[in-house]
Each structure stands twice: as structure tokens, then as C-alpha cells.
């Protein structure tokens, strides 16, 4: 299919003909000198920006992620305030306030520029409060929040540089400092009724073997930390986070899945000696930890493979602590333990880059 070469002068016409057949004439530019667009640009007080590509951005930003996670925590917060009354609310407020003050003070001392508006301090405060018993004294809550921010985050260099989840680090500090107070649980009581001390479902199980009913666990009508009691409220928030891709779905899946499978195997071997896997899944802080703490972006691996290992590792550590360890609950330690391995996981699980594997020789 050879084509007759059109004369150069015909070229314009040819294109014209094909493109806008209804208009025969070449589009004429207005003869009057238009103002130079550049001059127009620079005359206005707004200069154009010279910046590296890309010139469009995704819709995520750090503060947006933080505030979204806070929003996802709201159902659990509301349920816990309903269950534990104003005590829970005060604990949360105190933790948030103390965390923000600590962050502000660190900003000032370290001269880093204010970072309290990025939402991470608020989130740390809320998460810390969620892991405390409702009856925990206010001053110590504040102390925990300060430790979480100062030693959990700012000494590493601020947001993004920390190795351990700040909220859990604060909680670990409190656990080590005030082991009695932090294990004094209050049973939920609706407003007006005095709460009474009682054991958590896990504590109960490991002391006298009582398995709390699944219904109570789901609704949250059990003793425990402020934020860990109602599995349903936490699941709502957690699944929301996963749907909008602010949390990596692999982490909760592999974490909770490992706990379920591992404890399920043990249960099948000996249902008398080991708790049933559903009880293991919904008791304690597993749901809270799996959806909101283990998924903390800063302290979780970035590679898909690393994420799987991280989740499975946490699940194994958790079951081992719960069943063979001296503590009834191990979510905090399992997450902190795997947090410590994250830099290594990130290094070991570097994805094979595109074309790294030698492709088979084509025929």
C-alpha cells in the first residue's frame, strides 16, 4: 500500500481536511498582539511554581492518614465511654492532652518546628488510653503519654524515625512501673452504677478456666482496657481502615489468622488444656492491636512479604505468651517484639525488582 506523496503545501490542507472538514480555512490567530502570557503570569502576585515532577498527587497525606485512623477509632471510643462512663473519657482526654503537650515541648526544645498538628500525637494519646484500664490514675496516664511521645518517638527523631510503636512503648513503661494498677480491671458499668473490680476474660480463663461467652466478648460487656473490650466496634473501624487502604490488610489477617490457626491446632489436640480459638481471637487486646497498633505504618514492614512474616510472627509470639508465658495477655509484647525486627524484615524481604529473575530464553 504505497501512498502518493502530497506536496508540502498540501500538508496543511490535508490535515485540515481530515480533522475539521467543516472548517475549510486555517484557524487564524487574532492579529492584534495579545498580551504575552508570561507577562500576564508574572504581573500577578502569584508566581508559577518550579518544582520537580510529579505535578499531581495522590489523595493521601500524613495528617489525613492520622486523622482517618482517629476517626476509625471513634466507634470503639464511643462504646468504651458508654461502658465505662466518664472515667474512660477522662483517661482518653488526659492522654491526648499530655501527648500533645509533650510533643509541643519536644518541638520547642529540639527546635524542629511544630508537629502537633499532624495528628500523630493525638493518635498516640488515644491508643495509649485505649490500652489502659478505666480506673487507671490520671497522673500516671499522663506520665505514660509523655513517655510514649518523648521516649517512644521524639528521641528517635520524631515521626517516622521511631522503631517501636510509641503508644505501646508508653504502655510498656506503665506496665513495668505500675504492674498492680495496670492489672486492676474494672467491670463495665453503665452510668450511675459503680463499677466493680473484676478480671479480664483472659485473666479469668487462666486463673480458673472460665471461658467468657462470645456474645459478651463481641459486645464488650467484659472487664478489660478501655479500648479492647468491644470487638465489634473495633472491627467496624478496622475494616473501614482496610477498605480505604489506610491499613495494610495483610497485617490483621496474618496476625489474627495465625492466632486462630495456632490456638486452633492446640485446641484440637487437647480441648481441655487449651482455650478455643474464637475465645483467643476476641478476648484481650488482639483486635485493637491487630487493626490499630500492628498496622502503625511507621513500625510495620513496607514489603508485602515482610508484612506476612511480621503478622505471623506476632501471632506466634502472642499465643506462646498467652499459653505458656506468665502473663495472661501478650498483644503489647508481641507487637513490640516484632516492631524490633521490622528493620531487618525490610532488609531481608526486598522485593525482587522487575526483571531481576533471568527470564527463560525465548524460542
Amino acid at each position: 500500500m504505497t501512498e502518493q506523496k502530497p506536496a508540502p503545501e498540501e500538508l496543511k490542507k490535508e490535515i485540515k481536511l481530515e480533522t475539521t472538514p467543516e472548517k475549510e480555512t486555517i484557524k487564524e490567530i487574532d492579529e492584534k498582539p495579545k498580551p504575552d502570557p508570561r507577562r500576564r503570569l508574572f504581573k500577578s502576585d502569584r508566581m508559577t511554581i518550579v518544582a520537580p515532577a510529579p505535578h499531581n498527587r495522590g489523595n493521601k497525606s500524613v495528617p489525613r492518614i492520622m486523622y482517618t485512623v482517629i476517626a476509625a477509632l471513634l466507634p470503639a471510643i464511643i462504646i468504651s465511654i458508654m461502658l465505662f462512663g466518664t472515667k474512660a473519657m477522662i483517661t482518653i482526654l488526659v492522654a491526648v492532652f499530655a501527648a500533645m503537650v509533650a510533643e509541643y515541648a519536644c518541638n520547642k526544645i529540639m527546635k524542629t518546628g511544630l508537629t502537633i498538628d499532624d495528628g500523630s500525637a493525638i493518635l498516640t494519646g488515644i491508643l495509649l488510653a485505649m490500652t489502659l484500664p478505666p480506673s487507671f490514675p490520671i497522673a500516671r496516664t499522663a506520665l505514660g503519654a509523655v513517655v510514649a511521645i518523648v521516649f517512644g518517638k521524639m528521641v528517635f527523631g520524631g515521626l517516622g524515625a521511631n522503631i517501636f510503636n510509641p503508644a505501646l512503648l508508653g504502655r510498656a513503661f506503665l506496665q513495668a512501673s505500675f504492674p498492680v494498677k495496670i492489672t486492676t480491671w474494672t467491670l463495665p458499668a453503665f452510668a450511675g452504677v459503680d463499677s466493680v473490680t473484676g478480671a479480664t476474660p483472659l485473666g479469668q480463663y487462666f486463673s480458673d478456666g472460665t471461658v467468657t461467652s462470645l456474645k459478651s466478648l463481641l459486645i464488650g460487656n467484659v472487664g478489660g482496657c478501655i479500648g479492647e473490650t468491644s470487638a465489634i466496634a473495633l472491627l467496624i473501624g478496622g475494616i473501614f481502615l482496610i477498605i480505604i487502604k489506610h491499613a495494610d490488610w495483610r497485617i490483621p489477617l496474618s496476625y489474627i489468622g495465625t492466632v486462630f490457626v495456632f490456638s486452633g491446632i492446640l485446641w484440637l489436640i487437647n480441648p481441655e488444656a487449651f482455650p478455643n480459638p474464637l475465645f483467643m481471637m476476641f478476648s484481650g487486646g488482639l483486635i485493637l492491636g491487630a487493626f490499630f497498633m500492628a498496622t502503625d505504618m511507621v513500625t510495620s514492614p513496607v514489603t508485602p512479604m515482610g508484612t506476612w512474616i511480621y503478622g505471623i510472627g506476632m501471632g506466634v509470639v502472642l499465643v506462646v505468651i498467652r499459653i505458656w508465658g506468665g502473663l495472661p495477655e501478650g498483644v503489647m509484647y508481641s507487637i513490640l517484639f516484632m516492631n524490633g525486627l521490622v528493620p531487618l524484615l525490610n532488609r531481608w524481604t526486598r522485593p525482587k525488582y522487575f526483571g531481576e529473575i533471568q527470564i527463560e530464553k525465548k524460542k
Binding site: 490514675p137 513495668a176 512501673s177 505500675f178
Partner: protein, 201 residues
């Protein structure tokens, strides 16, 4: 470098060349025994005693001890004084001796002491060596005292065994455990660096 005056020789160990805060030497006993102010003070004084005596001897015999075996000689001298200190503590203040545990014998390998012999006493006269040893010992003792005081007050609510915090004060259990030692020491070193940076500026 300009020759230091006697006062400077003494003072440098307390701040500018503080064995813990600046040289980061002798951290093992520092972290381990500072659960109570009493222990910290006793440890500091024992180390100061050993440092003083061995610096004195090493400086005195610095020209006699052959270079090849100087470390061995220092170790023997130090060990002798450490044993003296250990036995005295055990004999007269058995409670403290018990709580310091193996850390008194471990003064033998404390880098501060061997370090001062090697770096200073073996090259300087007796007077200067004594001043240096005293300064270093005092610097060590002071940091230990501060560290152990903070840990005792926060971790147990007492200071030298006296209740000094208010009635409802809750002890920070972590402070009397190993992590508390690291946190407190870290804060002290950070503070010292901060002050130095400000002084320089």
C-alpha cells in the same frame, strides 16, 4: 597544649572529662548498682578509693615498672586495692556489700581505673596523679549519686532509705529495674551534652 593548673587537673574529671557523661567509661557498675542512692555513693567511694591508691602507687613507681608488663602490674595493684575495699565493705557495712554484689570485685576491670593509670598516672607526677584521680573519682561518684538518687526517688519513693515523697506517690517500678537505669543515664548524658552545646554557643 597548655599545661593545666592544679585546680584544672582536679576539676576536669568532674565535668569536662567526666568518666561517665563524657568518656562513657565504667557503665556496667553505673547501670547495675544505682538502684539506691546508698549503693551509688558506696560504689563511687569504693572506686574513688581504689583509683586514688592505685594512681598514687602507679605514679610513684612509673619509672620502675617496665613498659612491657605495665598493664599486668597495674592490674595487680588495682586488684589489691579492690580486694581491700571489698573486704572492708563486707566487714563493716555488710548490707551495702550484699547489695553491691559482684560489682565491687568488678572494679578491677573498670575502665576508668585502668584507663587513668594508663593515660595519666603512668605519665605524671604523684601530686598531679592524685589530683586527677580524685577529680575522676569524684566525677564518677557524683554521677552515680545523681543517677541513683533519681532512680531511688522515682523507683522507690525514698532517698537514702528515707521516705521523701508524698503519701500517695506511686513508685515507678521500672526505675528500679534495668530499663530505668538506661533511661536515666541516657537523659543525664543528653542533658550534659545539651549544657555543653549551650556553653559553647
Amino acid at each position: 597544649m597548655k599545661e593545666k593548673t592544679a585546680i584544672q587537673e582536679f576539676v576536669k574529671g568532674i565535668w569536662d572529662e567526666n568518666p561517665i557523661l563524657v568518656q562513657l567509661l565504667g557503665l556496667c557498675p553505673t547501670l547495675a548498682v544505682t538502684t539506691a542512692a546508698e549503693n551509688g555513693l558506696a560504689m563511687g567511694m569504693a572506686a574513688t578509693f581504689v583509683l586514688l591508691c592505685s594512681s598514687f602507687l602507679v605514679s610513684m613507681f612509673r619509672k620502675v615498672i617496665p613498659g612491657q608488663v605495665r598493664i599486668a602490674a597495674y592490674i595487680v595493684i588495682i586488684a589489691t586495692f579492690v580486694t581491700i575495699a571489698d573486704r572492708f565493705l563486707a566487714a563493716f557495712v555488710p548490707d551495702i556489700s550484699k547489695s553491691l554484689g559482684p560489682f565491687i570485685p568488678l572494679i578491677i576491670v573498670n575502665c576508668i581505673i585502668l584507663g587513668r593509670q594508663e593515660a595519666f598516672a603512668s605519665k605524671n607526677g604523684i601530686g598531679r596523679s592524685l589530683l586527677d584521680a580524685l577529680g575522676m573519682g569524684l566525677g564518677f561518684t557524683l554521677v552515680l549519686l545523681v543517677l541513683s538518687s533519681i532512680r531511688e526517688i522515682l523507683g522507690s519513693g525514698t532517698w537514702f532509705g528515707m521516705n521523701i515523697m508524698w503519701e500517695s506517690f506511686a513508685e515507678w517500678g521500672v526505675m528500679s529495674q534495668a530499663p530505668g537505669a538506661f533511661i536515666t543515664l541516657g537523659c543525664l548524658i543528653a542533658g550534659a551534652n545539651w549544657i555543653n552545646a549551650r556553653r559553647k554557643a
